[in-house]
């Protein structure tokens, strides 16, 4: 219970810091950086619920990012929905899509799961490209996303949009935190560690995986909505495989075993991107080198490394307690 209050406190603190950014008069570039970071951060954080916590390596996660973005954008452009209405509609669409895709994919393991998610993503991407009259094809949703006022909130205003996105972002992170610290979150870890044994404890592995897949897709969908609001459009590359790949990069760069690892990875990736792009057009080359160093050198994300150090210390302490208990028991037997 104490942990939960601490988490809520940290979430409130995080939100406060985010909200202070416009107040202290940070330059617009920083605000833009944070907005991009929040959208992609949700993509990476939600993907890590699958990869890090459940052991489901999905290569197609960006399709739900795009699903949220397009569903929201199209609903707003139709003029029939308020922003909250379109938000709910986009969530429902993303969840339904995840339910269908997930029901087919989660029965498969490892590489088969990865490739099937990739295949569904390419299918979705090609539908977006091909259905020009509806989605705008490779041009994306053109003409801007209307942002009518609701409840006195005007998202056409940059600051109000920023506040709205910050709140949505922190709420999503809090939801993810709630999931991984709940009994359900530990069931996910059991499935990651040893699926057969989990099934042997009476757990319905397929259903739990599917539920996790849908939750994760919905959070990615929120990320897509934030991006759509921010860039006032939706583009096919939101759902291209490279976007899924970037999300995996973010997880690698931060660490998959630490809750906020992917978020740190998002910041690192976007910083690397923004810095290198002003010196060279070969940003991918720089990224590739960094990833190689991480994979071959550290073999894990920087945050994982720190977490491991900490865990080893804790384990050493627990071992010491055990050894002391064993010694006492031995003394008892001898006497």
């Amino acid at each position: 219970m104490a942990g939960r209050w601490r988490d809520l406190g940290l979430a409130a603190l995080g939100l406060l810091v985010l909200l202070l950014v416009p107040v202290v008069g940070a330059p617009p570039a920083i605000r833009d950086f944070i907005m991009f970071g929040m959208a992609y951060g949700l993509l990476a954080m939600s993907l890590n619920l699958l990869i890090g916590y459940t052991g489901l390596v999905s290569f197609g996660h960006a399709m739900f990012f795009a699903a949220g973005a397009y569903a929201f954008g199209l609903a707003m452009q139709s003029g029939k929905f308020s922003i909250p209405g379109a938000f709910v509609l986009a969530m429902a669409f993303t969840a339904t899509m995840a339910l269908i895709v997930g029901a087919i994919c989660v029965r498969l393991n490892e590489i088969y799961f990865a490739f099937l998610t990739l295949a569904f993503q390419m299918l979705f991407y090609n539908i977006i490209l091909g259905w020009v009259s509806f989605t705008g094809g490779d041009q994306g949703l053109m003409g801007g996303i209307p942002r009518p006022k609701f409840l006195g909130i005007d998202l056409a205003d940059r600051t109000q949009l920023y506040i709205f996105c910050s709140v949505a972002f922190v709420v999503c992170i809090a939801i993810l935190r709630q999931v991984v610290t709940s009994p359900f979150g530990y069931t996910l870890r059991m499935i990651r560690d040893n699926q057969e044994r989990a099934a042997f404890l009476g757990i319905n592995v397929t259903m739990v995986k599917l539920a996790c897949f849908v939750i994760s897709a919905c959070i990615a969908g929120v990320g897509g909505i934030l991006l759509t609001l921010f860039v006032s459009g939706a583009y096919p590359n939101f759902g291209f495989w490279t976007t899924s790949g970037e999300a995996i990069f973010m997880i690698l760069l931060g660490g998959s075993n630490v809750f906020l690892g992917p978020l740190v990875g998002t910041v690192i990736l976007r910083l690397l991107n923004d810095i290198t792009v002003s010196y060279t057009s070969h940003t991918e080359l720089v990224l590739g080198i960094v990833i190689l160093v991480l994979v071959l050198g550290l073999r894990k994300g920087p945050l994982d490394l720190l977490a491991d150090r900490w865990e080893n210390r804790r384990q050493a302490k627990a071992q010491a307690v055990r050894d002391a208990a064993d010694k006492d028991a031995q003394a008892g037997r001898d006497a």
Binding site: Y186, R189, A318
Partner: protein
């Protein structure tokens, strides 16, 4: 409590279980022995639903469970520990037991409250106490000693509060002294929980000392069954284990 009737199972052309009929009384402690490849583990796999028998019935408290899914059979009260401990490497001992207990209480999908739930912690603590695992409560499963891993494996099965508990070689890979400690623990939990316990074992000293009833399997069928004394002096058993020529020497 558990009755096997005319169980048969073949893999390709190989008959792993041929016409096994056995009756395990409620609350009994019995051992299954037999040479390598006698079909002991296959029998456990059939009972727990890892694969269905070709023919025959498996009656749990009178209800036929043959052909049901593994998950269904677990829920009906058949627990199992494995020959090679099957654990959750990244969970600590207390986390693993709480997680197993929450699965048993059908709370494995609870999202609202934080892990571990108070009811599951209590359940897990009792098991740690019973198995002497309290001293390693905070240690990750992958860092446990071999003996403690085997105990935790049994603990995970116990978290399901099984009516029938199957232990596949609980003493596998242990030194002589450790074996006896293990089997004492098994005996203790059998008394404490009053369940039907069946274990596979290779060490004859242990089997004859601990088990109430001994079943001998050979080439997939039941060679002999009875009290340890009956089985020990059964000529067929001696033959299967020691070969014909040694018959006179042992008798």
């Amino acid at each position: 409590m558990l009755k096997l009737e005319n169980l048969k199972k073949s893999f390709g052309g190989v008959a792993a279980t041929r016409d096994v009929t056995l009756d395990f009384a409620d609350g009994s402690l019995s051992a299954i022995i037999g040479p390598n490849g006698a079909g002991k583990t296959t029998l456990f796999n059939l009972i727990t639903g890892r694969f269905p028998p070709d023919t025959g019935r498996i009656l749990l408290a009178g209800e036929n469970i043959a052909g049901l899914s593994q998950r269904r059979i677990v829920r009906l009260g058949v627990g199992r520990a494995f020959q090679v401990a099957s654990l959750f490497p990244t969970l600590t001992v207390s986390e693993a037991l709480a997680a197993a207990a929450q699965a048993h209480q059908r709370r494995e999908t609870v999202l609202r409250s934080p892990f571990p739930l108070a009811t599951t912690t209590k359940h897990g603590d009792e098991i740690m106490e019973l198995l002497g695992l309290t001293r390693v409560a905070g240690i990750l499963s992958r860092n446990l000693s071999h003996g403690d891993q085997k105990l935790l494996d049994i603990g995970l099965a116990l978290a399901l509060e099984p009516k029938v508990l199957l232990l596949d070689e609980p003493t596998a890979g242990m030194g002589p002294e450790e074996r006896w400690r293990m089997i004492e623990t098994v005996q203790r939990l059998w008394r404490a929980r009053r369940m039907t316990l069946i274990f596979i074992e290779h060490d004859m000293d242990i089997v004859f000392k601990v088990a109430q009833t001994v079943r001998v399997l050979s080439y997939g069928s039941v060679l002999a069954e009875g009290t340890p004394d009956e089985v020990r002096t059964n000529p067929k058993v001696i033959e299967a284990y020691l070969g014909k020529s040694a018959h006179g020497a042992v008798a």
